[in-house]
């Protein structure tokens, strides 16, 4: 109902037809023996919000850090795959300095914890201005003005005064707005958001989701939005990748995925979200039994097998490929033998 008040710059009708902003294929990232990301591929079009959903240990945050080139070299490394950013080509293998020049300019990142993601000893205006100065070579004064303008853009009231505040003087919601201002300071074509609303209260979460949506319309950027919450996915995403134990198990448009989940993990996740149920005794939530497997010693076959109510012999023997389902929408992908050609019982 408020859609009309937002100026829609990006008038793209079919995101899939456009050249993707980001194309990731076969990404593998390891932390020692731990295969955190084990062959992940996806693409994001300009103006598209792609959600990566998963629980802790699914590798979703590692995907974001791998794209940004921020995997600490002492802890792990991107082993294989390609990360292609429109206008900048292949990012994997770029020198540190070249990568640093792209970060914050062509791609910005928003983090989960607004309380700890800003440097406590610098004024927030200074921190935003620093990014602008670094990438756009502005003077100190011009960068400060731009920082104030960015704060206004992300909905911080009296931005002139707030720019002079230190992070501890701002609420969690305001700090997250500051983080967003930093991420979009140089009009990036790609925004990576790693659980940006998880630490926030529900009314503030709604405000931040609306802000991210509005900024996407304005800048026409592609967004990779990482979350564990399928309800947030329903609110913000055009396409979804569901990750489990380092791989994508299902990807589809949001509506298709939430209306008819194909992978048993996706349907299990959806079912375990509490919703209104008839009153009376013995109300229970459907659960996914067990816990996420240890990534350092994954068994062969399907990674979800041990928790899957529908697992059969083949699941233990061979890992299913991520492929279009045998029946139904050819645009979606699922990693499950139940939906594979000629296998489904």
């Amino acid at each position: 109902m408020h859609e009309g008040s937002i100026p829609i710059v990006n008038a793209m009708s079919d995101p899939a037809a456009a050249v993707p902003v980001l194309e990731v294929s076969g990404l593998r990232t390891r932390f020692g023996p731990l295969r955190a990301v084990d062959g992940v591929s996806f693409a994001v079009a300009p103006g598209e919000t792609l959600c990566i959903v998963g629980e802790s240990g699914s590798g979703k945050s590692t995907v974001a850090l791998s794209i940004m080139g921020l995997i600490p070299p002492a802890a792990g490394r991107v082993e294989a795959g390609s990360i292609h950013l429109a206008g900048h080509g292949e990012l994997r293998g770029l020198a540190d300095a070249a990568m640093a020049a792209i970060r914050g300019r062509a791609m910005g990142m928003i983090f989960q914890e607004p309380m700890t993601s800003l440097n406590p000893v610098f004024k927030v205006g200074t921190q935003i201005a620093e990014v602008v100065r670094r990438h756009q070579g502005m003077s100190r004064a011009a960068a400060h003005d731009r920082a104030v303008e960015l704060l206004r853009l992300v909905g911080v009231p009296s931005p002139q005064m707030r720019a002079l505040d230190y992070p501890h003087q701002l609420s969690g919601g305001m700090r997250q707005r500051v983080m967003i201002a930093m991420a979009i300071a140089c009009d990036p074509m790609l925004i990576l958001a790693d659980e940006p609303t998880t630490a926030l209260d529900v009314t503030i979460q709604a405000q931040i989701l609306a802000l991210i949506e509005e900024l996407k319309q304005r800048l026409g950027s592609g967004i990779v939005f990482i979350t564990h919450d399928l309800r947030v996915v329903a609110q913000i995403a055009q396409t979804v990748c569901v990750m489990y134990a380092g791989v994508v198990v299902e990807s589809a448009t949001t509506r298709a995925l939430l209306r008819t989940p194909l992978h048993p993990y996706t349907s299990g996740l959806m079912a375990s979200i509490p919703a209104a149920q008839p009153r009376g005794t013995r109300r229970r939530l459907p659960v996914i039994a067990g816990t996420v497997p240890n990534l350092a010693k994954l068994p062969g076959g399907c990674r979800f097998r041990s928790r899957c109510p529908k697992a059969f012999d083949l699941c233990a023997e061979v890992e299913p490929p991520l492929a279009p389902p045998a029946k139904g929408d050819p645009d979606r992908l699922v990693r499950c033998w139940l939906h594979a050609d000629g296998v489904a019982a």
Binding site: L70, A100, M109, N119, E130, V131, R134
Partner: protein, 322 residues
């Protein structure tokens, strides 16, 4: 403003502290007894009359409180009386010897600070590397070795074996090096400063490295990298200032106790500073000198603590009044 009031209160608190120390010091010295009796009683031909007149001469005949306030009023005017042994005004001696002490202590702390920052950055940015472990091991060793041991080792190597640096004193007694007081003075400073730098660097590096490792793990460092800041700027601009906050306390103590730790260095290198003077004063029961030096050490310690507190406010906005 809040900060000004804060500093004002800290100043008042510091003054009270100094006053408290002066009372305790005076009471303790007084408890030992009449110094004239202790110093002169054993001498032959000392009659009670002589002791009494000497006591009167030194103002030791009044009541304890009278004498305390006379003394307090005097030290407020920077008059610490006359040294019994050297027969010179204590205030002049404090200045002369104090400058000699500061001459080696201040450069030593500053050099140690710079060196430890550089070493810590190298180690912390390569955590768990061989370099990092080497730095930790070295710093632990340096921190555990007693200062005089390092001093003697330095003398052995550079003065005795190599014979390139002087092992004692602040100036050459006969021929100045290159006929310049400045160069000769610097030449003599090398070993004592070296010993202090070694010791201070070890401790500062231990603190700074662990603090920096902790800070480099924080989210805001990842966020700074994510906004494309060059690594040098991330480490020196963003991490170091945060890492410095816990180190500040130790730095304050270092400045505060530098007169207190001076005796060891100055004994090893026969340096004509306050530390050596203090030892001498105690050995010879030179009361005015002991009291004067103790008050100066107190002043330094309280002053350093005050400066540390102010530095905290400057460096960490979270401490400031909101």
């Amino acid at each position: 403003m809040g900060t000004a009031r804060y500093i004002a209160r800290r100043l008042i608190f510091s003054a009270c502290l100094i006053l408290g120390v002066s009372v305790i010091l005076f009471a303790m010295i007084n408890a030992i007894g009449n110094p004239i009796e202790i110093l002169l009683a054993e001498r032959p031909g000392m009659t009670d009359e002589v002791i009494e007149s000497v006591s009167r001469y030194y103002g030791l005949d009044g009541s304890v409180t009278d004498r305390y306030f006379t003394w307090l009023w005097a030290i407020l005017r920077f008059d610490f009386g006359t040294s019994i042994i050297y027969n010179q005004p204590v205030s002049e001696m404090l200045v002369t010897y104090g400058l000699e002490t500061l001459k080696i202590q201040i450069p030593a702390i500053l050099i140690a600070l710079v060196v430890s920052v550089l070493i810590s950055v190298m180690a912390a940015t390569r955590q768990y590397s061989r370099l990092d472990f080497g730095v930790i091991a070295g710093a632990m060793l340096g921190h555990s070795l007693p200062g005089f041991f390092i001093g003697i080792l330095l003398i052995l190597v550079f003065s005795y074996w190599l014979g390139i640096l002087p092992s004692y004193g602040a100036y050459s007694t006969r021929n100045m090096l290159m006929n310049s007081t400045l160069i000769d003075g610097l030449w003599h400073m090398v070993l004592p400063v070296g010993m202090l730098v070694f010791f201070n660097t070890a401790t500062l590096t231990l603190l700074m490295r662990s603090s920096l490792v902790e800070v480099l793990r924080q989210d805001f460092i990842t966020a700074a990298r994510a906004s494309g800041l060059p690594e040098r700027r991330v480490v020196f601009g963003h991490a170091l200032r945060n890492a410095f906050i816990p180190v500040l306390t130790y730095l304050g103590i270092l400045f505060g106790v530098m007169l207190g730790t001076a005796p060891v260095t100055e004994t090893v290198f026969t340096w004509p500073g306050l530390g050596a003077l203090y030892i001498m004063a105690i050995q010879q029961l030179d009361y005015p000198l002991i009291m004067g030096e103790t008050m100066i050490i107190t002043f330094m310690l309280v002053g350093a603590t005050l400066l540390t507190d102010i530095a905290y406010v400057a460096i960490d906005p979270r401490i400031r009044l909101a």
